[in-house]
Subunit: 388 residues, 2 copies
């Protein structure tokens, strides 16, 4: 008999930062008091700091999908032409949302595991000179692939369109120079690099994006960026906010500021690289080998396997929750997460557990092979990975 | 020197139920697992039980305003005629929302502190036979007044319109026989009688309301009742939900079930009555004397006072947060809350503190006068107020 600690190892909700969880306990606070305004102002200021932008950053009490909707319903009008990149389940969400709000979407589709290349975006913009927006995922969580938002942004910046990025798992796993690259709208969520439970969504808005808000005619009320900006300037949120999560966010932002967002990104990138090398060392195939992101690494199940077996055995043997494929990828891939509060010790354990699960289910590997690949990445990087 | 415990005594966020707060700590849970589905199914089932309805009850990760919007954007179409009762700040929210979504609103306005009478609703329905909906607050939190939703429902039931009730502070403070009275849509929020932090909203939907969803043409995505119903039937939420709050809700619902929602209502009603009697005993004037609700009691500040003085002194002298007036009532009234986790001991302390604050600021009262009025209500009711 052995005990199995419960471990949440998914790309969102990500492992919780303990001090943030503790901070949530202080939620006997009222949202229209100076005590709360101090907390809220500080959270918004710190969010801007860790995102590295002077653009307005707004917060909504909703999942990240709510902030995606805010971008659509506050900045566009019925019939507006939009270029929508779709390379997985979250790209499909942009497509669905554009349809729900009556945008005229030109969908640039890539197969799951693949990405939409910047030249396709450039060509679509050239072919659709009236396009008002380009929508993309920085990191497509369902496949682990990352888009080249920098190159896309350069193409969009030359046009009248705005560039709207779902960076829910992009923030904290890849550099995103919001102002330098021209990222007009950047959407984030609390349960990702911010290491707290789900329920808060963020978005940053460039001056170009704000100009779009002047002409938008789509109905909206709960997600109202103009009202929210006015409220935020007064240290409040328009509606009763998720106070407990905002208190937790404050604690997480302290940690991220202390460490530096660059280090959080470097950490995710190192763990992602180590995971890819471990997978290859174990004879497994990566699902997005050409454009791997660092939020999550999707690995194909061995030939003939249902990837659910691996997910289930992580739970039953080790108490650990890892992610299956989503949508049409369910049963085909499993996903190992890196964004947020993950470290090398987590990854040593995940890969060792994976080796046992593979071997026990008829895909024998030499114990320690994958772990050694992770250790090698650690050893090479250790000199640079200094704690603050 | 004396210490001042921090006490949140507002009509939302209401005082937190400690076990619910503790339950939130277990939020290292993934929302697409059987563990979570068990929690979510149980919360939805218990919600229906405490609301006393077999109607579908859906949950959104948002403030209550989000569920109000869900009712508008999922059940109505641009240009639909609607009767909107507005007797305070939250009535104005219905008016704003109807305008945002392009409804053709007939506004029945009552002065702050007053209510819209059922006969006005009946007359408006007769004058507007094409009206598709009637919107009201069960309890208008900004004034403490309560609407006679039962009589209004009887009028609406005879028409083709649906009756949409913001019961955010109505639930748990007044009887609401959802099916018996014909309450088509009932909206609630987590930070009220449910005694947990803000961030979750609920709504129940009658079969008549669901039929409206078939013809509605307003755009919506995040708040999608059809999708949410399908997700709920599978034990999940459509988007990543506020897991921490759902865990807390589970614990609160256990408490409410054990006590019985009827007892929660009786408790609020007793505290409200005791507060009114204390206010009168102290020579203060009630703000909504004719239709007092039991969620919160609004009391006018003494002649020539800014009610902010009372609110500030509650904080500075006793560490307690009570509510000022909202909107145009700010500075004129202060509000003592009763809904949720409030008890007589809280009220003894609130009234004793109030007596001190009044006396210290030039409105001398005989110490103990207000407290005695509360004690009298307690003594009369004590026989009936049995713990489960």
């Amino acid at each position: 008999m052995h005990i199995k600690k419960q471990r949440l190892l998914t790309p969102g909700p990500t492992p919780l930062y303990p001090r943030a969880l503790q901070a949530m306990m202080a939620s006997d606070i009222h949202h229209r008091t100076e005590d709360f305004r101090t907390v809220y102002r500080s959270a918004l200021k710190d969010l801007k700091e860790v995102l590295g932008t002077t653009h307005d950053v707004l917060m909504f009490s909703s999942s990240g999908t709510g902030a995606m909707e805010a971008a659509v319903s506050n900045l566009f009008s019925r019939g507006d032409k939009a270029i929508v990149c779709s390379a997985g389940k979250f790209g499909e969400r942009w497509v669905e949302m554009a349809a729900a709000f009556g945008l005229d979407a030109v969908v640039l589709k890539a197969e799951y595991g693949d990405v939409v290349t910047p030249d396709r975006v450039e060509a679509a913009l050239a072919a659709n000179p009236t396009a008002r927006g380009v929508f993309v995922q920085a990191s497509e969580t369902s496949t682990g692939a990352a888009h080249d938002v920098r190159a896309m942004a350069a193409a969009v910046a030359k046009t009248e369109a705005i560039f709207v990025i779902d960076a829910i798992t992009g923030i904290g796993t890849m550099p995103l120079d919001i102002e330098g690259w021209g990222l007009d709208v950047v959407v984030g969520g609390s349960q990702k690099v911010f290491m707290i439970p789900p329920g808060l969504a963020f978005l940053s808005l460039s001056p170009k994006a704000w100009r779009f808000a002047e002409t938008s005619n789509l109905p909206h009320y709960y997600f109202n960026i103009k009202k929210e900006k006015k409220s935020a300037d007064a240290g409040e949120s328009s509606w009763t906010p998720s106070t407990s999560l905002i208190l937790g966010l404050g604690a997480s932002l302290e940690y991220i500021k202390q460490l530096g967002m660059g280090k959080m990104i470097e950490n995710a990138q190192l763990l992602a690289r180590a995971t890819r090398e471990a997978a290859v060392a174990l004879g497994l195939e990566l699902f997005a080998p050409n454009s791997p992101g660092s939020a999550v690494t999707a690995v194909k199940a061995p030939q003939g396997w249902d990837s659910g077996t691996i997910v289930k055995e992580f739970k039953s043997r080790f108490g650990a929750i890892i992610a299956n494929g989503q949508g049409s990828m369910k049963g085909k891939i499993f996903r190992i997460a890196h964004l947020g509060y993950f470290d090398f010790a987590d990854l040593f354990a995940v890969i060792a557990a994976l080796e046992i699960i593979l071997t026990a289910n008829g895909f024998p590997v030499t114990y320690g092979t994958g772990v050694a690949a992770v250790q090698k990445v650690y050893a090479e990087a250790a000199v640079q990975v200094k704690r603050p």
